[in-house]
C-alpha cells in the first residue's frame, strides 16, 4: 500500500467514526469524571472517618478556586467536585439516579422547583444554617427556597449601546417591534423560557402561563419579532454589542456586565412591563447520606467573603445582605445593575417549572424558530 492510499484509508476510518457521531463536539459535555473530579486530600485519616465526605456539583468556575481547600482545612470534611455545564445536564443525572450520588448541587430555581415536585430534594432546615441570617428577608417570599438556598439572583432585561442608540429603551416592545434604526441589530436569548419571556411580559401575561390562547398570542408576536432580529444568541450576545454588530440585546443582568466591562457605554434596563427573577441556588438531594456535612458546606458558602468574591468576579447580584452592603463604590459605579435592590427584583416574576405545559412551550418555541424558512 503506498503512502497516499494509506492516508486515505486511515482518514476514511476517522470519517466513519465522525459521521456516526455527527457534531457531538459542540455539546458542552460534562468533563469526564477522571478529568474534572478534584478530590481534596484529607488532612488526616481520623478526620475523614469522623467528618465524612460529600460530593457537590457546580458550574465550572462559579465559586472561588480555593473554596474547597479552605473548607476542608477548616472542617475536615472532604469534598469531591463534579462539574456540570447546564441545568438540564445535572437534572438529567439526578433524575436518572433518583437523586443519589450528590450531597449539594447548584442549579437554577425553576429546575430546583421541578426536582422538589418530583420529591427528589430534601426540605431545607434553615436553623442548621446560622449564616442564612445574612440572606435578605425577601428570599423567603420565593416559594422554592423551601428546598433551595439562594446563591445568586438577578433578572433579564435589555442591554444596549447607549452611545449608538439615540433614545432610552424601556419596553420589551423596543426589542420585539424595534424602531427602524435597530432593525437587524437585535438579538434575543434562545433558551426556551427566555425566548418566550419578552413576548409573555409585553402582552401582560405571566412568565409561567400555561394558557393555550395566551401562548398562541405569544407565538404570533415572536414570529413577527423574528423578522427584525439579527440572531438568537445565548452565549456571545455581549460580544456582539461590544463589536457593534448588535445594538440592543435581550440579556441576563450579570452577562450584560461582561459587555459593560469591555465598553462602559453599554447599559442595562429592566423593561417597564416587568421581567423574570432567576435564582441560582444550592439544593440537597433527598437520598444524601451526609446531610450534616452538606449543611456545613452550604453554611460556609453563605459567608460574606464567598458572596463578595461572586459579586466581584462573576458580576452577579448575591442575595446576601452582608455582601451587598459592603461592595466597593467603584464596582457599583461600573456595574450599575449590581445596585438593583431586592425589593425591585422581587417585583419580577420567579420562573417556575411549568410541568405538563412544557410540551406546549416547546412546540411554540419550535414554531417560532422554524418560521420564515
Amino acid at each position: 500500500m503506498n503512502a497516499p492510499k494509506l492516508l486515505v484509508s486511515l482518514f476514511l476510518l476517522f470519517a466513519l467514526a465522525l459521521s456516526a457521531c455527527g457534531g457531538s463536539s459542540s455539546q458542552p459535555t460534562a468533563p469526564s469524571p477522571v478529568g474534572s473530579t478534584e478530590t481534596q486530600s484529607p488532612p488526616s485519616a481520623a478526620q475523614t472517618t469522623t467528618k465524612g465526605k460529600i460530593v457537590i456539583s457546580n458550574w465550572d468556575a462559579y465559586m472561588p478556586a480555593d473554596l474547597l481547600e479552605k473548607f476542608t482545612a477548616e472542617t475536615g470534611i472532604q469534598v469531591e467536585l463534579a462539574l456540570h455545564a447546564t441545568n438540564e445536564e445535572i437534572v438529567g443525572k439526578l433524575v436518572a439516579s433518583k437523586g443519589k450520588g450528590f450531597d449539594v448541587v447548584f442549579m437554577t430555581g425553576q429546575f430546583a422547583d421541578a426536582m422538589a415536585k418530583m420529591g427528589l430534594l430534601s426540605e431545607i432546615d434553615y436553623t442548621k444554617l446560622p449564616n442564612s441570617t445574612n440572606l435578605f428577608d425577601e428570599v423567603k417570599r420565593i416559594p422554592f427556597t423551601k428546598y433551595a438556598v439562594p446563591y445568586t439572583w438577578g433578572t433579564t432585561g435589555l442591554c444596549y449601546r447607549s452611545d449608538l442608540v439615540n433614545y432610552e429603551p424601556d419596553s420589551w416592545y423596543d426589542l420585539l417591534k424595534p424602531k427602524a434604526e435597530l432593525v437587524g441589530k437585535i438579538t434575543m436569548l434562545s433558551t426556551d423560557r427566555w425566548l418566550l419571556l419578552p413576548a409573555q411580559k409585553a402582552l401582560g401575561f405571566s412568565a409561567n402561563t400555561t394558557d393555550e390562547a395566551e401562548m398562541q398570542q405569544v407565538k404570533e408576536l415572536l414570529i413577527e419579532a423574528k423578522k427584525t432580529l439579527l440572531a438568537y444568541d445565548d452565549t456571545t450576545f455581549y460580544s456582539k454589542l461590544v463589536s457593534g454588530e448588535a445594538l440592543l440585546v435581550e440579556a441576563w443582568d450579570g452577562w450584560c456586565n461582561y459587555g459593560i466591562a469591555e465598553n462602559p457605554d453599554i447599559r442595562f434596563v429592566i423593561p417597564k412591563e416587568g421581567s423574570d427573577l432567576w435564582v441560582d441556588a444550592m439544593v440537597i438531594p433527598e437520598p444524601s447520606e451526609n446531610k450534616e456535612a452538606a449543611y456545613a458546606f452550604i453554611d460556609y458558602v453563605l459567608r460574606p467573603e464567598i458572596g463578595t468574591w461572586v459579586a466581584e468576579n462573576i458580576l452577579y447580584k448575591v442575595p446576601n445582605r452582608a455582601v451587598m452592603g459592603q461592595l466597593s463604590a467603584d464596582l457599583l459605579n461600573s456595574f450599575e445593575n449590581l445596585t438593583i435592590p431586592p425589593q425591585e427584583l422581587l417585583k419580577q416574576e420567579a420562573l417556575q417549572d411549568v410541568g405538563e405545559a412544557q410540551s406546549l412551550y416547546s412546540s411554540v418555541v419550535a414554531e417560532v424558530l422554524a418560521s420564515g424558512q
Partner: protein, 280 residues
C-alpha cells in the same frame, strides 16, 4: 478451535466497544422513543406511539424538509467542488499527492466547533471580510455575511468537503488510465470519455462521498446555531432542544429515529449502487 479463537481475538475488542458504546445506547434511545415524558421531564415507562405521531405535525415536517433541502444542496455543492479537486490530486506526482492529501486532512487537527467560531470572525459585520471589502473600496457600508442560509451552506460545505474529496480520490486513483486512453483512441471526446467511462467507474466514490457529506450535514446543529444565528432551525437543533431544553427525551428519541430511518434508506441505496457497479 484455533479457527474460532483468532476471529474472536481480532474482533473482540472492537465488537465490545461497538456493543457498549453504539448498540446499547441506540437500543436505549429506541426504547425511550416509546415512553412518555412525565410532568417534570422524567421518562415514564408507559408505552405510547404518540412520539412518532407527533413527528407528522406540520412544523416538524417543515423542519425535516428544510434540513433535507440544506443537506442535499451542500452535498451537490461538495460534489461539484470535490470531484475536480480529487481528480486534480490523482494527476500529480506521488510526492505532491501526499502533500495535497495532507492539506485536505489538515483542518481536522482543530475542532470543527472552533473552526466554526473562526468563520464568525471572518464573516461578521465588523469582521475580516467586511473590512477588507471596505478598504478595497468595494463597499462603503460594513456587510454582515452571517445569519442566513448562505452562511450555513458555507459552514457545512467547508466542514464536510474533505469527506467528499477523499473517497473520490481513492476511487479515481484506482481507475486504470488505459481505459481512458482506449476511449480517446476510439474517437470519444473528453466530455464523452468523462461521462461514459470515468464517471460510471467512479460512481462508488461519488455515492460514498455524498453519504459522508449528507448524513452529518443533516444532523448538524451547531453550524445553524452559530452561523445561522439560530434563526434557521434544522432537525439537529430540534433534537438537541428536546434533549437539553425541553427535557422531553422520548420525543427527542423518536425524532432521532426518524432521521435514522432516512439515513438507513440512503445506506441501502449505496449498497445497491455498489453491488451494481461491481457486477458490471
Amino acid at each position: 478451535m484455533k479457527k474460532l479463537v483468532s476471529p474472536l481475538v481480532l474482533l473482540g475488542p472492537a465488537l465490545t466497544w461497538l456493543g457498549i458504546f453504539l448498540v446499547l445506547p441506540l437500543a436505549l434511545i429506541f426504547v425511550y422513543s416509546f415512553f412518555q415524558r412525565g410532568a417534570f421531564g422524567q421518562i415514564v415507562p408507559q408505552f405510547t406511539l404518540g412520539n412518532y405521531m407527533r413527528l407528522f405535525n406540520p412544523t416538524v415536517l417543515k423542519v425535516f424538509l428544510n434540513s433535507l433541502r440544506i443537506a442535499s444542496l451542500v452535498t451537490v455543492l461538495a460534489l461539484l467542488l470535490g470531484y475536480p479537486t480529487a481528480y486534480f490530486i490523482t494527476q500529480q506526482s506521488a510526492r505532491w499527492k501526499n502533500t495535497l492529501l495532507v492539506l485536505v486532512i489538515l483542518p481536522f487537527w482543530t475542532s470543527y466547533l472552533i473552526r466554526t467560531y473562526a468563520w464568525i470572525v471572518l464573516l461578521n459585520r465588523e469582521g475580516v471580510l467586511s473590512r477588507l471589502l471596505i478598504s478595497l473600496g468595494l463597499s462603503r457600508e460594513p456587510i454582515s455575511f452571517l445569519y442566513n442560509d448562505t452562511a450555513i451552506f458555507i459552514g457545512l460545505l467547508y466542514g464536510y468537503l474533505p469527506f467528499m474529496v477523499l473517497p473520490l480520490y481513492s476511487s479515481i486513483e484506482r481507475l486504470n488510465p488505459e481505459l481512458r486512453e482506449a476511449s480517446f483512441d476510439l474517437g470519444a471526446t473528453p466530455l464523452k470519455t468523462f461521462l461514459q467511462v470515468t464517471l460510471p467507474l467512479t460512481l462508488r466514490g461519488v455515492v460514498t462521498g455524498a453519504i459522508f457529506v449528507f448524513v452529518p450535514s443533516l444532523g448538524n446543529f451547531f453550524v445553524p446555531e452559530l452561523l445561522g444565528g439560530g434563526q434557521r432551525f434544522m432537525i439537529g437543533n430540534m433534537i438537541n432542544n428536546q434533549f437539553l431544553k425541553a427535557r422531553d427525551w422520548p420525543y427527542g428519541s423518536a425524532m432521532a429515529f426518524g432521521v435514522m430511518a432516512i439515513v438507513l434508506i440512503l445506506l441501502l441505496f449505496q449498497a445497491w449502487i455498489t453491488r451494481r457497479t461491481e457486477q458490471s
